[in-house]
């Protein structure tokens, strides 16, 4: 295991973002994708929600208002992260300082991208999500905490359990590099390949 960091609790201010079906183009509009690096994506994150056509901050948008400007946790609507597979959406959220996103369910590719980049996505029931939306709106400025190991969210006196599969949990805690980890299984991959006959091997014409 290549270990990068230990991260078992995420603490901070949560911002409510109740819209359903927020797609990855809303998170990272396409004009920021014309790039060959991972960096410099913080400004693009939620750009059309944060800024107007002239580049001015929209004062009414939650992440532009105190105290949510400081938020590092989002409480989101159903099916967050749907649409395109672009990992830029997750890179951008991390660069904007978002460490966790609490919702009822996430699109599959977004979920996998998140866990590769240390963005925690605790899954809660609709009722719990609504409770947290209210809490983050009303008790603004009060921190909540997400314990990855015990899989509980603590908001004041409220304790909320969340779902997270073991491998995602391990991934977040250890911050592992999946590519390097998998190369420790090189023999198993070679063995698998020797069982494939030539008729099962793709060879793309150049």
């Amino acid at each position: 295991m290549k270990e990068k960091h230990m991260n078992t609790t995420i603490k901070g201010i949560a911002a409510p973002l109740p819209l359903a079906n927020v797609d990855t183009d809303v998170i990272m509009p396409k004009r920021f994708l014309i790039t060959i690096t991972r960096e410099g994506l913080a400004d693009g994150t939620f750009a059309d929600l944060r800024f107007d056509n002239t580049g001015q901050k929209r004062p009414e948008f939650i992440l532009n208002k105190a105290p949510w400007k400081q938020a590092n946790i989002l409480v989101v609507g159903d099916n967050f992260g749907c649409g395109s597979s672009r990992e830029h959406a997750v890179w951008g959220m991390r660069q904007l300082g978002i460490n966790a996103c609490i919702g009822t369910g996430f699109a599959g590719i977004f979920y996998d991208n998140a866990r590769k980049n240390g963005l925690a996505l605790p899954i809660v029931s609709s009722e719990s999500r609504d409770t947290l939306l209210e809490y983050s709106k009303n008790k603004s400025g009060e921190e909540i905490s997400i314990d990855i190991v015990s899989q509980t969210i603590k908001a004041g006196e409220i304790l909320i359990p969340f779902e997270m599969d073991t491998s995602t949990q391990t991934s977040l805690i250890r911050g592992r590099d999946d590519t390097l980890d998998t190369l420790e299984y090189t023999n198993a991959i070679h063995n698998f390949e020797t069982q494939l006959d030539d008729r099962m091997r793709v060879n793309v014409i150049k």
Binding site: K30, R38, R86, K116, T179, I189, M200, V202, N203, V204
Partner: protein, 459 residues
């Protein structure tokens, strides 16, 4: 033990279990484009890794290229285009770039090249990789970190999904296409309703579809949240495997690529084919659709305040009134293209409607064939001249174009587009652009009428 087609595909590709509940699965074939791959190649380089099996990958240019000419329309997109070419040269990966007669939208190119056969596992840094399920192959979209992972290891970490079967029984009526079938499924199950599921489509309405139709269905299954879509193989599949550049080079035998007769699915949905009508979307999510003969919803149609608010927001963005009839929606632009509907079969359907008719005054109508090969075929069949005579602009270069507007084909703020694409999200076709999804024949009909219209009125 009986198994679903999905389980057979996963079992056939499992390399080993991993300690924390995931497994490693083997990727037979992997496709890359210019915008979700650059950071994967730089990841390899920074870790000093090589590509595990270069001949199992294909790269195409499709997302950012201009469609009016082979020249990039600006310096930034040229950078992305050149970067992929350079990465492929370095790592000895097949590259179908601009000007190559095999270039086009990835999900159009792959079947056309005979690069998908039943039983395969295919990954690509694009969500619409579900398309390959039409061939009884397991295709799914991945992020850039996973692209790096496939390049370096030819495998992915994977977790088995739950299974859902969607059965569409009975024949559909005249004028109803594969696009209407999948739009109906998305309407019934909801965007995100199949998150965490692999969906198998079955029933006579699916069996009766040709391969192009099956691809349209599997392609848009991702709008349900499905990470994989499948259709069992049959004679239609077998026939489609012949006559392509890679045909006969490989086959994935050993299993019948169908679900066992008594296989149990975690969830079942049944839809009556006869009840499906030509559909259009009115909102900003692919599940916000209605029949072309119906009316846009009103606040009174909803109970919860949340749903009322969502309706209000969608209608405001779309510039529509509550209860407005679908056919009263006037369009500015008609777009035929995308990996959902720009195959030769789609162009033929649209041309049938356009033949002998004229695009309405004031409507800008554009058609972008899905690949260079599709374009050549369409031109040879006389489709180009039908499109051009009717007033459509025929684009010479293939690509995603106005499906996501990453090139210079961008709809303006407030511009209303009848579109054969797959996503009507806010800003998808340009900031403030208003997208109505529908079948290519319905787009052609709307172009002629100048407003959304029932294609069944066009004989």
């Amino acid at each position: 033990m009986t198994r679903t087609l999905y389980d057979k595909l996963v079992d056939a590709h499992k390399v080993c279990d991993l300690p924390d509940g995931d497994m490693l699965i083997y990727v037979d074939f992997h496709i890359m484009n210019e915008y979700t791959s650059p950071q994967a190649f730089s990841g390899l380089e920074s870790k000093g890794l090589n590509v595990w099996r270069p001949e199992a990958h294909l790269s195409v240019i499709d997302h950012v290229n201009a469609t009016r000419s082979v020249e990039a329309h600006d310096a930034q997109s040229k950078l992305l285009i050149d970067n992929l070419g350079k990465n492929c040269t370095t790592h000895e990966i097949a590259f179908y770039g601009l000007g190559d007669p095999r270039q086009g939208i990835e999900h159009i190119v792959v079947p056309e090249q005979g690069l998908v056969v039943p039983g395969m596992l295919i990954a690509c840094g694009d969500s619409h990789t579900t398309t390959y399920g039409a061939f009884g192959a397991l295709g799914f979209g991945i992020g850039t970190s996973e692209v790096e992972h496939v390049l370096a290891t030819q495998t992915l970490r994977y977790k088995r999904m739950k299974t859902m079967r969607v059965t569409i029984n009975g024949d559909t009526t005249l004028g109803v296409t594969a696009k209407d079938i999948i739009m109906k499924v998305v309407q019934v199950i909801g965007a995100g309703g199949a998150n965490g599921f692999a969906v198998e489509f079955s029933g006579s309405a699916i069996r009766n579809l040709n391969m192009a139709g099956r691809m349209t269905v599997c392609n848009m299954a991702v709008e349900l949240g499905a990470r994989a879509a499948l259709i069992a193989t049959d004679e239609t599949t077998e026939k489609a495997l012949k006559g392509h550049p890679h045909s006969g080079q490989f086959e994935f035998k050993g299993e019948k690529w169908v679900s066992d007769p008594n296989a149990i699915f975690d969830h079942e949905v049944t839809i009556s084919g006869a009840d499906i009508e030509p559909l259009i979307t009115w909102g900003t999510s692919p599940d916000q659709s209605i029949s072309i003969t119906a009316h846009v919803p009103s606040a009174q149609d909803y109970v919860s305040p949340k749903a009322k608010k969502a309706l209000e927001r969608s209608l405001e963005y779309m510039g529509l009134d509550e209860g407005q009839s679908a056919q009263s929606i006037v369009i500015d632009t008609a777009f035929i293209g995308s990996c959902t509907n720009s195959r030769i079969e789609d162009l033929r359907e649209a041309a049938k409607i356009l033949d002998g008719r004229q695009v309405a005054k004031g409507v800008e109508a554009i058609v972008v064939p899905g690949s260079a090969m599709t374009r050549i075929k369409a031109e040879a069949e006389g489709l180009r001249s039908i499109f051009e005579t009717s007033g459509f602009e025929w684009r010479p270069e293939a690509g995603c174009s106005m499906c996501l507007a990453m090139n210079d084909d961008i709809a303006m703020d407030g511009e209303r587009v009848a579109s054969s694409t797959n996503r009507n999200f806010e800003g998808r076709q340009g900031r403030g652009a208003r997208t109505h999804l529908m079948s290519p024949a319905m787009v052609a009909a709307a172009a002629i009428a100048g407003h959304l219209v029932d294609v069944r009125n066009f004989k």
